[in-house]
Symmetry: C2
Subunit: 481 residues, 2 copies
């Protein structure tokens, strides 16, 4: 059980919940900086936590996973809370659900508002039913809520509806750009949590390399990963559904969903493409490793793997604060084209390939994305920016410059996807670059992705997932140890 003021699962990382007090201060401060001419008296921020939810019409209670913005500000793991920040003075308040006495029989000890106040380090805690009364007593007349569209999903945030909201002015414009932006660059405390979850996830990936063998089903490695990351590291959730592709399935970018549930048998000689990450205190890791089930790369596997690795390494070597992320995407693409030319998958001039987006035929996704409380973390395209419409680049989830203490994934890949390549063979604009005979031999190869989670530094990066080997030599050594 966690100590008052801390979150710790088993022997996992001990999170000082003052981290969220700092986050609240950052949002309050950034709010003032962004709107220096706005009068903050009478204004407060109100955010709503995840409610208790049930599956369909049943009483099957879903395991609560806190909504990310609410978690960012308050770090509360329990459902049915609200939180407020008085913008006039930065004071924070929580609103807890008032639970009936019978709750104790089914769900355990009912904690009082003093406990929540002390544990989550807010100025005070009241009941949800008293939100209106409390805000009025703070002289609040305007409630600023989160209202805007997530640039990865296109979905709108639900705001913070509460009983009595109609007795306030509701501002839907001011808060969203501030809180979205606050999450993009991580604090030192956030980075420590992310270092932990990335390192533990990398460790679990390494263990998977040792465990896997032909004849296992893909899902058995998903099961092992989930177990390793929970039992050893305290991550009850993975940050996204595990992708455990063997052979051709390695070329299905989001394999593993309910319609393709990692249920293939792994066969001798196949490549594996495993994309899995744990989540701790809602902060996620997102790591991919590709390796041969045999533990020894064949010549063909070596060609493709070393091409992706060269691409990833070129990007990692070039990354630092101030660098453009779309430029890094183009760099990754260029190295992939160069490598594929070197190994006779491609022919012709590299500049011509770049102009014709030949790289996107093999890597149809973006180079990487912001990572944090969401796997595709918010803030990729803040107001005033827009996505490229170019192939590949249009799938890039962050379109700006790298900043110090951003966390971002670096995940180039090469995939042999029939649905992409068959039309390309027929397309005169790109088929002139394709060595069709060689590529056809790889149509059942699958794909390779190497994905690491890095912190952007002033003059380079810190690779938080370096604990899991990437080089051919290190992978072979680990798998045969």
């Amino acid at each position: 059980m966690s100590q008052l003021g801390f979150l710790q699962i088993g022997k996992g990382f001990r999170v000082d919940l003052v981290m969220h007090k700092e986050n609240r201060f950052k949002v309050w401060n950034n709010f003032k900086l962004k709107y220096p001419n706005i009068n903050l008296n009478g204004k407060c921020i109100l955010v709503k936590g995840t409610p208790t939810t049930y599956r369909d019409d049943t009483d099957h209670e879903e395991l609560t996973r806190q909504e990310s913005y609410f978690h960012y500000l308050f770090g509360v793991k329990e459902p049915d809370f609200y939180g407020a920040i008085d913008l006039s003075n930065g004071n924070s308040y929580l609103f807890a659900p008032k639970l009936p006495p019978a709750f104790a029989v089914w769900m355990g000890e009912i904690k009082n508002n003093q406990y929540w106040k002390d544990h989550y380090k807010v100025e005070d805690c009241f009941y949800v039913e008293d939100i209106e009364k409390t805000l009025k007593s703070l002289n609040c007349d305007t409630v600023c809520v989160i209202s805007g569209v997530n640039t990865d999903s296109g979905l709108a945030h639900q705001g913070a509806p509460f009983e009595g909201i109609s007795n306030f002015k509701v501002d839907k414009d001011l808060l969203f750009p501030v809180i979205q932006n606050a999450r993009v660059v991580k604090s030192d405390k956030e980075l420590d949590v992310m270092r932990y979850v990335a390192a533990e996830s990398a460790k679990a990936h390494s263990e998977i390399m040792r465990i896997v063998k032909p004849g296992m089903s893909e899902f058995q490695l998903e099961s092992h990963f989930r177990h390793l990351i929970y039992c050893n590291s305290g991550c009850r959730n993975v940050s996204y559904t595990c992708i455990c592709g063997s052979g051709p399935n390695g070329a299905i970018l989001h394999y593993g969903h309910a319609g393709a549930p990692n249920d293939k048998l792994i066969k001798e000689g196949e490549m594996l493409m495993f994309d899995m990450g744990g989540e701790y205190h809602c902060y996620g890791a997102d790591i991919s490793r590709s390796f041969p089930v045999s533990g020894r790369f064949t010549e063909e596997q070596r060609e493709v793997y070393s091409s992706v690795l060269a691409s990833q390494q070129a990007v990692m070597d070039a990354m630092k604060a101030g660098v453009s992320w779309p430029d890094m995407h183009r760099l990754a693409n260029r190295v992939i084209c160069e490598q594929l030319k070197k190994y006779n998958f491609l022919k012709g001039d590299i500049e011509d390939m770049m102009a014709n987006y030949v790289g996107a035929l093999f890597m149809p996704h973006g180079l990487g994305h912001l990572l944090g409380l969401d796997t595709h973390d918010v803030g990729g395209y803040p107001e005033g920016t827009s996505r490229s419409t170019e192939p590949g680049l249009k799938s890039l989830r962050y379109g700006g410059l790298l900043e110090k203490n951003m966390v971002i994934t670096v995940e180039p890949g090469i995939y042999f996807i029939r649905a992409v390549l068959e039309p390309a063979f027929l397309n005169p604009q790109v088929n002139i670059f394709l060595n069709e005979e060689k590529i056809r031999k790889f149509l059942d190869f699958g794909g390779i992705r190497i994905e690491d989670d890095v912190i952007v530094l002033e003059n380079g990066i810190e690779n938080m997932s370096r604990g899991c080997p990437r080089s051919i030599e290190d992978i072979e050594a680990l798998m045969n140890s």
Copy 2:
């Protein structure tokens, strides 16, 4: 990967999807039997499957778990489907989402409607966008949808909204009682799936008994269980959040939720109360075992444990088709009172205890519930029936007579819950039965529940979870082997 017409995960049970064709026939047939005077021409059933869902406003896609009624009728594991049954002739149709070609890059091969038709054994498959057109071509003018309140949750079913529904009459009365009732008694094929998931879950419980030791965190056993049931048995989901209570936490009936996430250290000398079950093809198991972490029952643990076991055994011995479930609940209570009197927790006359609901002070929940596609399966209180308001009995989730091939849990328990017992010590109506001094010694003991999943037979029961030991001797033997 599953063969056409079957569902099989790894080496797990091979489900013949004709099971759902039988379910559809049963619903059609029961519909005709219940409404012999209704003209079925122009009427069809329409049900909606689970849509693709995202966490809050993010692009974090939730792993689809099919809505239970839809699953019952069609067995489809993919999201975004609809299904129909033409009531005039019993023909069945699926409606699949029309996926954009880019889907293949991210999610894998797009299956065509012929595949769905063959795999899920329906008469034909069309696109969701063609529901209106298709139903019109079947001469359907009235759409019967599921509309009613789940008696366990009190929540209403969402029906089957679709584009063009306003061009049909929508009947919300006819279908619900028929389909709810159809799920109560299981078919032979359903029973086979349930035997599998109960047996595998029992096996995993046995393994947990071998693994656990003092110094582990409760959640590590949750992790082991989830891993065992997935890796060995193909159950990607558990049927409900694992309850892994040690010591006092054993008395929190629904321990393990986000606010109490199985995060206590297990200490020498404690009792454990683990309630966990796997889910396979959406059919669940629900098994509880209680045992001392030391592997040897102390005298105190023996008293409470043997009392619960005697209660469970008395019920199991009395159960058969035709028996009243509330009577079984009362029997369980009576044996608990007798046992607690024998061990000096209680004093006085058993009939007086029964009249004053003394048993409910130690077992505040119901004896057991229907089990199937939902852990608390539907049909507990069909129209015309109502719940008792008596303590304990009011929490009983099934109020009728046992029928052959019902699946129900038998789960008596004895818990020492401060929130229940402290008021009872002060209540003159019941404190005369309580040996307060002895009971007080057990206030940190926690609780004991023994829960098995049984099929009701003509002349008894089949205990599907018998693979995990229940007797003190068998548990001690297993834990020390």
